[in-house]
């Protein structure tokens, strides 16, 4: 039998329909087996339990009640026990609705996340808070230095400082008086380096930093902003 044009197409269509029906019988399952196995892995969510209350009391300067209160708040917000960077950025941005706080939040995240595993556990959170709120002035300044030192090499370079400064000015947003000019961050960085960099080597070390800050009355007086936080 000679099949012509339309008849060929018709026969092809019929054969295609046969295959569709076959699938219904489960007789032919092309390439569907691999995907089903991946689903199982996603079921287990990551969960983290913090160290015991006594250990945290030793490590931090908070009382038991304060730790309890902090943990309740933390657990309520992050039931899995871990804060990832996206969530962190979202939370911090809500305090600064006018500007863009995501860059600064990124730096903060890295400062809090001590073991650099991409998420903040309750211990990191609480230890960081303890240093900032209950620590000595030197400890606080050390923590600030750690924040500025983006690559954690022990030196603050101009580029690092500029990045930090830009992120802080970004938090202000557009509507300020007087308005933020593009050169403001770099000017501020220059002023900072003039003050901090004693030996004019272009970088600020931790000793230079702490020493200069302790001598500056403004900075010491401003330490009062940590009172009554908790």
């Amino acid at each position: 039998m000679v099949l012509e044009g339309m008849e060929l197409i018709a026969i092809t269509v019929v054969i295609g329909l046969f295959f569709v029906v076959f699938k219904q019988f489960g007789a032919w399952e092309p390439l569907t087996l691999d995907e089903s196995s991946d689903c199982e892995l996603e079921l287990s969510t990551v969960r983290h339990q913090p160290e015991g209350l006594e250990q945290l009391q030793v490590q931090t300067q908070f009382t038991k009640k304060e730790l309890q209160s902090l943990y309740r708040g933390f657990k309520n917000e992050c039931p899995s026990g871990l804060v990832d960077e996206e969530t962190f950025k979202n939370i911090y941005s809500q305090f600064f609705p006018q500007g863009d706080a995501t860059t600064y939040a990124h730096f903060l995240f890295n400062a809090f996340d001590m073991d650099r595993n991409g998420s903040i556990r309750f211990e990191d959170f609480v230890i960081g808070l303890s240093v900032l709120l209950r620590g000595s002035e030197t400890e606080k300044l050390r923590w600030a230095f750690n924040l500025y030192d983006i690559n954690k090499d022990g030196y603050i370079t101009k580029e690092e400082m500029l990045a930090i400064m830009t992120s802080i000015y970004d938090m202000m947003g557009r509507y300020t008086s007087p308005s933020v000019r593009d050169v403001d961050p770099s000017e501020h960085v220059d002023k900072f380096f003039q003050k901090m960099d004693r030996n004019r080597d272009g970088v600020v070390t931790i000793d230079e930093f702490i020493e200069t800050c302790q001598k500056d009355e403004n900075i010491m007086a401003s330490m009062q902003l940590f009172e009554n936080v908790i």
Partner: protein, 636 residues
């Protein structure tokens, strides 16, 4: 700001360390929080169900009742807890909102109850979480629709017309709501009858009748009885034209009426006749005229004024316009595809009926709708295969949008049914409300008779119903008395008031007060109307008796019945009323109306059977007394 942000505040403040070394000015002093910082557990008692929660949890939302100092108003010192006299089931959801930051809408709760609870606790409904928002919105829309229907039904026109309605308003009323008056009903049925007659005439005049004598061919009845049919047609058109013109005259907004669907149908139905009158007896034009006669069939659409089902169908089709459009579009696509395929499949066959693609359209439509006339049939194998695929897919394509249309129809139909049910319920509800109002007034009037007017003293003597009165009622009655004293008028009941009105209608002039209740228009018509309109017929026989007395008073000047017989009857009716009043404290029909207190009316002590009944009854009796006297005069 969202809830949990408050938890992170200490952290955000601590993170300000990063700005510290960079600051060019000194940082300001932090705020001193005088309230106790330590977290504590609060007890919240909601109608007996005790909830406990951390203080911090509630403080997360400082602009709600629970989060602000407003809750201190509900603090109970003895039990050291916050007590709310609200629904404990709902409170669970409210508290969950504080705990989790997400507000959920409980599906089994009434939407209005839920909204009221939210309003009480100071939470805006807009923050309902996404999971429940859709359900909430749907329920809310449904509820609003239902309420809108209720108010619409109220305003729709079952309410009585204001007395100053013009002829136009009355006419429009009669057209829109035929059940309001008998004339309208008659008109409604007559037009319906004539629509039917017209349509049947149109149909019958094409039926072949027996031929005239001397000819063999069957004539259509229209030509045999052409005179009769044309008379009938003319009569129907005249009636329809009259109806249309009257509706046009009565319509409150003629532009809107002229543009409405029903009026367009009316015009289209009668136009062919008038065009036929105007058109000359021309050969070519009469062909077009015949076509115009087709439009006469649109008269059948006029029935939709008479049938609610038709209106619903029309509504449904309107509502499903998009689904119908989709159906049409998908059908067109399928028709074109299959027509093309069939044409090319059948091209080889000799003598095929598939002469062109448009010719194949007919085959495709007939096959897809599973009609299968059989006038066009494919011969080749390919044609048959594609033909079968065409019919299978036709079933699917048509079946898909139909459930949507059906569900829309069901929804609209149920809405209509509900509207009817609502209207019936409204009447009952309003009757109940009226009764409740009258009950309250009666209690007050009763209280006055029982000596409430006397300041102290005789209050105990006729204290039959005093026990039943609550503190609230005492205060309410005192309030009404204050009002009476202020305006120097007194509250009275309907019957007495009607009698006073009768007095007026017979020419007795009293100093008419202007403080009539708003429901009454002119002085004379109001009372006659009141006499006719007794909305509540309780099982109180005195109503009918007093009504009888009023009516008899009404007809006095016509029949000239001796007043002597009248007097004891009305007196006895009054007595009966007082007996009733003494024993049936609450069972009494009345309405709040003010009557003037004629200064010349001296309390008549000589009336028998009234030892200790002061107050308005005396007044009313004396005024009826006057009525009797007046009547006496006028009948002589």
């Amino acid at each position: 700001m969202a809830a949990g942000v408050a938890t992170w505040m200490p952290f955000a403040r601590a993170a300000a360390v990063g700005w510290l070394p960079l600051a060019q000015q000194t940082m300001p002093k932090p705020p001193v929080d005088k309230t106790s910082r330590s977290d504590e557990i609060l007890f919240v008692n909601v109608s007996g169900l005790r909830f406990q929660t951390w203080k911090n949890t509630l403080d997360r939302y400082p602009d709600t009742l629970l989060g602000s100092s407003e809750k201190e108003f509900f603090y109970n010192e003895e039990t050291q807890e916050y007590f709310f006299d609200r629904d404990p089931e709902m409170f669970r959801h409210i508290l969950n909102f504080f705990r989790t930051g997400k507000l959920h809408y409980p599906r089994h709760e009434c939407i209005q109850a839920f909204e009221e609870e939210l309003a009480f606790y100071g939470i805006i409904p807009e923050i309902i979480g996404d999971c429940c928002m859709e359900e909430y919105r749907d329920r809310k829309k449904e509820n609003q629709e239902r309420l809108a229907e209720d108010t619409e039904a109220e305003n729709a026109g079952d309410a009585p017309l204001p007395p100053d309605a013009t002829l136009r308003d009355k006419l429009w009323r009669a057209f829109e709501n035929p059940h309001t008056s008998t004339m309208a009903l008659v008109f409604y049925y007559v037009t319906g009858f004539f629509i039917a007659v017209s349509v049947i005439a149109n149909v019958v005049e094409t039926v072949p009748c027996r031929p005239l004598k001397g000819s063999i061919k069957d004539l259509p009845c229209g030509e045999k009885f052409s005179v009769g049919f044309s008379c009938l047609d003319t009569a129907c058109v005249l009636i329809f034209s009259c109806e249309y013109l009257m509706r046009l005259y009565a319509a409150p907004s003629r532009c809107d009426f002229a543009r409405s669907v029903m009026s367009v149908i009316d015009v289209v139905a009668i136009l062919p006749f008038y065009i036929g009158l105007v058109m000359p007896e021309n050969e070519e034009v009469s062909g077009a005229f015949v076509t115009l006669r087709v439009f006469r069939v649109f008269r059948i659409f006029k029935f939709s004024r008479h049938s609610q089902g038709l209106r619903i169908l029309g509504c449904t089709l309107q509502a499903c316009a998009s689904e119908l459009g989709f159906l049409l579009f998908s059908l067109t696509m399928a028709v074109i595809i299959f027509a093309t395929v069939m044409f090319y499949a059948e091209k080889g066959t000799k003598g095929t009926t598939f002469s062109s693609i448009p010719a194949s359209f007919w085959y495709t439509i007939v096959t897809m709708t599973t009609l299968g006339y059989g006038d066009m049939v494919p011969d080749s194998i390919a044609g048959k295969i594609f033909g079968s695929i065409c019919s299978l897919s036709g079933v699917l394509v048509i079946a898909l949008p139909v459930p949507v249309i059906v569900s829309n129809f069901a929804r609209i139909y149920h809405q209509n049914q509900r509207a009817d049910k609502m209207r019936a319920q409204q009447k009952v509800r309003q009757a109940r409300i009226r009764m409740a109002k009258k009950g309250a007034t009666n209690a007050f009037l009763q209280h006055k008779e029982d000596g409430g007017l006397q300041d102290g003293g005789d209050g105990d003597s006729t204290a039959f119903c005093v026990k039943n009165r609550s503190a609230f009622e005492h205060q309410h009655h005192h309030l009404l008395q204050c009002l009476e004293k202020t305006t120097n008028h007194e509250f009275t009941d309907e019957i007495t008031y009607s009698e006073v009105c009768m007095m007026d209608s017979m020419g007795f002039r009293t100093s008419r007060s202007t403080s009539l209740s708003s429901q009454q228009g002119s002085t004379t018509t109001c009372c006659s109307r009141r006499a006719k309109r007794r909305a509540i017929r309780l099982a109180n026989s005195t109503v009918s008796v007093s009504r009888g007395s009023v009516q008899e008073l009404d007809t006095l000047h016509v029949t000239k019945t001796p007043v002597g017989t009248q007097y004891p009857q009305s007196r006895s009716s009054l007595n009966a009323r007082t007996e009733d009043l003494k024993l049936n404290c609450t069972d009494y029909t009345a309405a709040i109306i003010s009557i003037p207190t004629p200064p010349a009316n001296s309390p008549d002590e000589s009336l028998p059977n009234s030892p200790a009944i002061p107050g308005i009854l005396r007044n009313s009796r004396s005024s009826t007394f006057n009525t009797q006297e007046t009547v006496k005069i006028s009948s002589l």
